[in-house]
């Protein structure tokens, strides 16, 4: 069986994959026929490139600092996001799950690539890979080891397979030694991978190194 998958189309001799040519032709055709508008497509692209993990990181940092906000984030992630000026929309539903000393969450979409894009931006290529999708459910600790994360055996590892219209945001555990840090400083420690659950947030000593 094919033992790798790749996230990029093969490059043709003039440097552009055939899919690029085809995609642009499709857009021209659909716009010309009025099936979609060029403006709407541009706005869609703008939205895609504007979403970054910094949005999710801000939610996490605020939850670390403000226990009441943390409860609101866990109860209704969209309402909590709206408080920070961010609207992930009503569908799909975003649910925040919290890592504790006893429980660590990890998120995957085995069926395709469902991901909380409205809060984290586009998923990394590895998240969409066949290797991650197959092993994140059956050997999650092995996958974490590939990412350099070893969880103690007493920690319950909860893998969330995003099979329906619910998207998961992991609230990683606040690193020790971060007392007194501002929300911005804390947000800088929250990596995309820690909000997927394959990594811990950066420790403050590492961040300032």
């Amino acid at each position: 069986m094919h033992d790798h998958d790749h996230d990029h189309a093969p490059i043709t001799s003039d440097g552009e994959p055939p899919a690029a040519v085809r995609a642009r032709a499709l857009e021209r055709l659909l716009v010309r026929r009025g099936v979609v508008s060029a403006e709407d497509v541009r706005e869609g692209i703008d939205w895609l490139v504007s979403r970054t993990p910094a949005d999710g990181a801000r939610l996490v940092a605020r939850a670390w600092i403000d226990p009441e906000f943390r409860l609101r984030l866990l109860a209704d992630a969209r309402a909590a996001a709206l408080e920070t000026g961010l609207d992930p929309g009503s569908a799909p539903v975003v649910v925040a799950v919290e890592n504790t000393p006893e429980v660590h969450h990890m998120v995957v979409c085995t069926l395709c690539s469902c991901y909380p894009r409205a809060l984290l931006g586009p998923p990394p290529a590895w998240y969409k890979s066949l290797a991650y999708r197959s092993r994140a459910v059956s050997d999650p600790r092995g996958v974490l080891a590939e990412f350099g994360l070893e969880l103690p055996a007493h920690v319950e590892l909860r893998v969330l397979d995003s099979t329906a219209d619910v998207r998961y945001l992991v609230i990683p555990a606040r690193p020790p030694g971060t007392e007194g840090m501002s929300e911005d400083e804390l947000a800088a420690l929250v990596t995309r991978d820690s909000m997927i659950g394959v990594a811990q947030p950066v420790a403050p000593a590492a961040a300032s190194a």
Binding site: A9, R24, S37, D40, V41, A125, R133, S134
Partner: protein, 92 residues
């Protein structure tokens, strides 16, 4: 083919970062626009991807799968006529 949970796949996870190419962002945005216009929804997108022959599915990159699915669904709905996109590629 798309239902991957638990498959025996021992290839290492490639963790390199890839910026999305312009055409990939375009495909993503087209799907969003088609959805907002009520022409094609995300469940149809997924169904279209799942209907790809196994070899094509494995060979295609992520957004190539999306593009293939959009073509399949739009052809099915009569939004695209057979050969119309090929013609646009040739003449465009």
């Amino acid at each position: 083919m798309h239902d991957r949970g638990g498959w025996h796949d021992h290839s290492p996870i490639d963790r390199s970062e890839h910026e999305l190419a312009d055409w990939e962002l375009l495909v993503d945005a087209l799907v969003g626009s088609l959805d907002r216009r009520g022409v094609m929804n995300v469940d149809e997108l997924r169904r279209g991807i799942e209907s790809m022959p196994a070899e094509a599915y494995e060979r295609a990159s992520y957004y190539e799968r999306w593009l293939s699915s959009v073509e399949t669904i739009l052809l099915e709905k009569g939004v695209l006529a057979p050969g119309e996109l090929d013609a646009e590629v040739r003449t465009g």
